[in-house]
């Protein structure tokens, strides 16, 4: 059995690696133990392949932490992706309730049951209906489980939540010894079992199930910080295997569960030599004549109204003209607003949206926590597989987290994009002089190319300027170039005109700073 699963496992890992860009396989010892993949994005990476095959795993967490959903996803994926039929023994909700709970995720339990790929047994224990006298055991439970396993030829079993038995039966001593026997029996059956447990005070589960199920323990957590909730997952224990030990944010949405592994386990991105156009010919010239490196990360910073989004629109337009898929996260404007505004400077992005090359994702930053944003962005990136990604403006995310949090999140995100060889452009709104250093220090070290936009006015003329503050790995212009926004786009005036730029009253960016070493 362990060997026959390998090819599937490798396939899954390969798929997940491509989808998520993260790869933990360089950690030693991860492949020693046969594993049953969950098919849950990210979880199989953290566990280096899935749950321990043929052994029980405990999933614990508070009410509403997603235990049942995780367990059911494990079962349904088992059937649909890995050809492993499953048994669900539920102690809290009946068949219909469970089915309707997960119907919104596209899981059709009745269909799977009809196809004899899934068996659901609802075990109801009502203390008030039961009188206890003398010795007994839970052989009835074993018989039911065995019958269900035989009926569908199950390879996977979920018990949700077996701790309910403690409320239904009085004799704890019998119950405990029977549970011990049950978990050993499950191992003997060779099924991969997932047992859910309610988080207890000071212990992982109320009834100390972790004493009995000791092969692997996964803890789910649902925290609210500053009124923003974040779900986290941690592999507390995994006997005989390495695993990621951090807390990983995870997301439950219409597509089910996805977990975000920390991808920056090692700095191993490719460094392609290929270049991509910025969409502004003159700017390409300033970047040693060819534009950005593919897979690099570009920061465009400047005060409000300096033309950041316009520069991004050029970049998007150029990518779509090359026939590349482009993903755009908006944290300030709606897609309609952006389309309208860009049309006013002669950039029409609507056809790209219509042809499916360009996709917008607009979200209020305060809608959820940073991690959740990150997970959902990961998910969108993994689904759409863009060549180019724009985040406008990335600074708006800072309103929902501390600087340290934002830096950690952006590191993960950029790392992920780089691994997938996605060229990214992030715009950064610099609010006022005081904040600039802090904001920029948070993210600029992660950037390959940093373009700064600035306004000033001489007399009654308002001027826009652009310069390349840094661009790793290329000889770039150090000139500050004046540009104008016309009805056919952003137009850089020639270098001669730019040379005449004299720093005047500057708002938003200190232009005199450009003496700072630009090649980092």
């Amino acid at each position: 059995m362990p060997y026959s699963v390998r090819p599937i496992l490798d396939e899954v890992n390969g798929h997940e690696k491509a989808a998520n860009g993260a790869d933990l396989s360089h950690l030693p010892g991860g492949r020693g133990l046969p594993k049953a993949p969950t098919g849950i994005r990210g979880l199989d990476e953290i566990t280096l392949g899935g749950l321990p095959q043929g052994r029980p795993t405990l999933v614990c967490g508070g009410p509403g932490s997603g235990k049942t959903l995780l367990a059911l996803t494990f079962l349904v994926n088992g059937v649909l992706l890995f050809d492993e039929p499953g048994v669900l023994m539920t102690f809290e909700e009946n068949e219909e309730e469970i089915a309707s709970d997960v119907a919104s995720l596209g899981f059709d339990l009745p269909e799977l049951i009809k196809a004899q790929k899934l068996a659901v047994d609802y075990v109801r224990v009502e203390r008030s209906e039961i009188e206890e006298t003398g010795e007994y055991d839970l052989e009835g439970l074993f018989v039911r489980l065995e019958h269900a396993i035989r009926t569908v030829g199950a390879r996977r079993v979920v018990l949700d939540t077996i701790e309910s038995l403690f409320a239904g039966l009085k004799n704890d001593a019998i119950l405990r010894s029977e549970l011990r026997r049950l978990f050993r029996w499950l191992k003997d059956q060779g099924v991969t079992a997932l047992i859910t447990g309610e988080r207890g005070d000071g212990a992982l589960t109320r009834q100390g199930l972790e004493e009995y199920v000791s092969d692997a323990v996964i803890l789910l957590d649902h925290r609210v910080h500053d009124q923003v909730s974040t779900r986290r997952l941690r592999v507390v224990k995994y006997r005989g295997s390495h695993h990621g030990t951090n807390e990983y944010p995870f997301l439950i949405n219409a597509d089910g569960i996805s977990v975000l592994p920390v991808s920056s386990m090692a700095l191993q991105h490719e460094a392609p030599m290929e270049r991509v156009s910025s969409g502004v010919a003159h700017l390409d010239v300033m970047l040693s004549g060819q534009g950005y490196y593919r897979g690099s990360t570009v920061l465009v910073s400047g005060a409000a109204g300096t033309g950041k989004t316009s520069l991004a629109a050029h970049f998007i337009d150029a990518a779509c003209r090359r026939g590349e898929r482009c993903l755009c996260f908006l944290f300030e404007e709606s897609p309609q607003q952006l389309l309208r505004n860009m049309r006013s400077i002669g950039i029409d992005l609507a056809p790209w949206v219509a042809s499916g090359l360009l996709q917008f994702h607009a979200d209020r930053p305060s809608r959820y926590g940073l991690e959740t944003h990150l997970v959902s962005m990961h998910q969108v990136v993994a689904d759409f597989r863009p060549a180019v990604t724009v985040i406008d403006p990335v600074t708006n995310l800072m309103t929902v987290g501390t600087y340290a949090d934002v830096q950690a999140m952006l590191t993960r995100l950029i790392d992920h994009l780089k691994t997938a060889n996605i060229t990214a452009m992030l715009t950064s709104l610099m609010p006022g002089q005081g904040e600039i250093e802090r904001t920029e220090a948070t993210i600029t070290s992660l950037m390959d190319t940093w373009i700064r936009l600035a306004n000033d006015h001489v007399g009654d003329r308002h001027r826009r300027g652009l310069y390349v503050l840094k661009s790793r790995g290329m000889a770039h212009s150090n000139e500050l170039c004046e540009f104008v926004l016309t009805d056919h786009g952003l137009n850089l005036l020639d270098a001669a005109a730019a040379a005449h730029w004299t720093p005047g009253a500057v708002d938003g960016g200190s232009l005199t700073e450009r003496s700072r070493d630009a090649v980092v």
Binding site: E131, E132, T133, G134, Y136, E139, G140, V143, R144
Partner: protein, 106 residues
């Protein structure tokens, strides 16, 4: 059901027949003991007004689900309604009688 103080478990002819089911899993000492105890209790307290059906779950595992059987042995009083369940080897006669509603809980 409040019965007389002197002989609390003697049934009047109007009392219904007891339909009982004993679920076991194989011929284990516990199941044999439960059956012996049940027979004795029925003879002493139900005056033969009972039907006992034994179900071995090792033979008919699919029957466990219908009566929500978890523990064995389990005695199910199917009639008269409502359904009552008594789990264990039935060694404590008092509790069995309480469970069957033949004696009021103290």
């Amino acid at each position: 059901m409040q019965l007389s103080e002197n002989d609390p478990t003697v049934l009047s002819p109007a009392e219904p027949t007891y339909s009982l089911r004993l679920y076991v899993a194989g011929q284990t000492p516990k199941s044999v003991l439960a059956f012996t105890n049940l027979k004795r209790i029925c003879e002493q307290h139900l005056l033969g007004r009972s039907e006992i059906e034994i179900i071995d779950l090792l033979v008919n595992p699919q029957l466990a689900r219908g009566d929500q059987i978890l523990a064995v042995p389990t005695l199910v009083r199917r009639l008269p309604e409502p359904i009552k369940k008594i789990i264990g080897d039935l060694s404590n006669t008092e509790r069995v009688l309480v469970g069957l509603d033949l004696r009021v809980r103290e």
